[in-house]
Symmetry: C2
Subunit: 371 residues, 2 copies
């Protein structure tokens, strides 16, 4: 069992994503992290509870957006109210983590910061916490930005890849490498080559570092952003915060921490994780990780009201969600049929990542209530 | 234009079918003839109004079942209330037409009886009425049971076929043949052979005959049924009718007029009709006869409440119906997606005739409200 070690570890959960890929279930005001997609709890609840007992609630921080804060607070009643950081506007992950780092710096500049997306699937909690523990111990002593990499199990084109460099450390069977190169989402051919070559890991978007080390890297790699954010040191927790934060964000570039910091920094390490992981980026990804019937169908029925029902006759490889209706499939193959909030999506499983096209069309039509 | 000729012509519209093939739109208490499937009016309204001006409302009779009579009356407020005949139980078409014939015999034994299903599609009203007029004129003078045949336009396996015999009459370019042989629904190979051979017409299930000629044929071909039904002569319109009709029906065999009478009788003629016709026996048949967009999609949106909406992106050959939900298709091909009454059907167009399998499963599950 994982022990609650004495390291000063803080978790920062990024929960600002709008999320269109699970439409019609996800909506502007109810993005993926607020949906009970992989269990009967919302993904953000899963993400928080997965940290127990390694990180206690007092040291878990959430960065989110204005239009989600109310629902996020409701989903996480055990977290202290001051642990919810609200971005005035979404500017990708670099400003988000800058804000979190300056916030933590006031509490504990020597502290180790775990960065976790709110809406990923992680299969084995104990392996996950062991990995975080090893990464945190490493980051507490070494001046590295540590990223979590996962051994590819398929030639995925939806993930970024990181190439392993020299082995830095091996702890309890877990290896930490120098990160050699970051690669954007590859073509199918290149993804296959990465898979075969063996030295490329999936970039999970999870990071571990000391607060001060990250802020140094931010200053070196994104000096303008850092200068803007440095004002935070003076205003966080004061009466000026509410007024000035939007101004800082208005001037910040929208840039990801991968592109803006990790790819440029020289002190990046990668820990090779061994738990099963998926960013659950589409209905077909959800189908992949979900429990299936004998014919490979996944059934999701809204809990509570008891009105949603599903029948799948002579159908295989489908994902079906029912909320208020009886959904009856006959002779369908590899198809997504999802009912949610007065909308029904029907598309082939291998095209479910194109759902945003539907949202674009809905916007054109002015049917706002369906967004 | 068709004139209202002086022939004593009576139309009998068979509207007793339960209808499962348009589930989930059709239900036990709202079968196909009560749905606005091919226009904004119900099919039975279309069927009645299509007879205008050839048959006035006073001479149009409806045979239906107990559980449909209320809705049928509501749909046809212009018909005299005594023109609705209610079967105590459905026993296929032979008893239905026996009842109608005995009813008409009291009014006009010399009258010509047109037999029409309530739920067929007919493309051109004027051609249709011309054909009925020619058939009625022929039947009024000749002792034939006249059936309406249609030149096949495809190797349909869902229809019965009738082979043409010798030419009996040609009137205004319309030909009447002796009927040579009745063929049940054929295999695809045989259907193709019929189509190529040229002498086989589709059996439309529409008939024209004098009341007395039909009753003679019924007596000769189905003597037991005739004996049971003959009691009707004495009780129709009396206080006994309500009590005795169910007893008669309980003893009647359930048999079709095609199988029980037309195939056995020697005095069967077939008029070759030239209007476009379809029995609209499945969602795919409805797709075939409906107006389509440029990508061959058919859209049906429930009128009135304005909540049903449809988006079809990169989809072809689909039929989509929306009632309360936004239904969004992406990348679908030849698929039926129908929302009605709290249920949603999704199936390939070429399997829409198997919808009754879903109903069987719903019955097993005891989900009665969806039937």
């Amino acid at each position: 069992m994982v022990k609650n070690v004495k390291l000063p570890v803080y978790a920062v959960i990024m929960a600002g994503g709008g999320g269109t890929r699970f439409w019609p279930w996800s909506r502007e005001k109810t993005p993926k992290q607020l949906l009970p997609i992989i269990s009967s709890r919302t993904m953000i609840e899963e993400t928080v509870s997965r940290l127990d007992p390694f990180v206690p609630p007092q040291r878990i921080f959430i960065v989110t957006s204005r239009n989600q804060i109310t629902k996020i607070r409701q989903a996480l009643p055990n977290l202290p109210s001051e642990n919810f950081l609200v971005e005035p506007v979404g500017k990708n992950t670099a400003p988000c983590l800058g804000l979190a780092a300056f916030y933590l710096k006031r509490i504990d500049p020597e502290g180790v910061m775990l960065v976790l997306p709110a809406d990923h699937f992680i299969g084995e909690q104990e392996k996950f916490l062991n990995t975080l523990q090893v990464a945190a111990a490493f980051a507490s002593r070494e001046n590295f930005l540590v990223t979590l990499g996962l051994k590819p199990t398929a030639p995925e084109t939806g993930y970024g890849y990181i190439q392993k460099g020299e082995l830095l450390r091996r702890v309890k069977g877990i290896e930490i490498f120098k990160a050699k190169a970051f690669r954007e989402k590859p073509s199918p051919e290149i993804a296959l080559a990465y898979l075969r070559e063996g030295s490329y890991l999936w970039n999970s978007g999870m990071f571990v570092w000391r607060v001060e080390i990250f802020l140094k890297a931010l200053e070196a790699c994104l000096p303008e952003l850092y200068q803007e954010m440095a004002i935070l040191s003076k205003i966080l927790g004061t009466s000026q915060e509410r007024r000035i934060l939007p101004k800082i964000y208005a001037r910040c570039p929208a840039i990801s921490v991968d592109y803006g910091v990790m790819e440029k920094a020289s002190n990046v390490a990668m820990i090779q994780a061994h738990f099963s992981w998926d960013d659950v980026g589409s209905w077909s990804a959800l189908w992949k990780i979900s429990a299936k019937d004998q014919r490979d169908n996944v059934y999701l029925v809204k809990e509570g009201n008891g009105r949603g029902k599903i029948l799948a006759l002579d159908s295989t490889g489908c994902l079906i969600r029912a909320e208020k209706n009886l959904i009856a499939l006959l002779g369908m193959k590899d198809t997504i049929v999802v009912e949610a909030g007065g909308s029904i999506l029907v598309c082939p499983k291998n095209r479910s990542q194109e759902v945003r096209q539907i949202l674009a069309r809905i916007k054109e039509k002015g049917w706002k209530k369906y967004l």
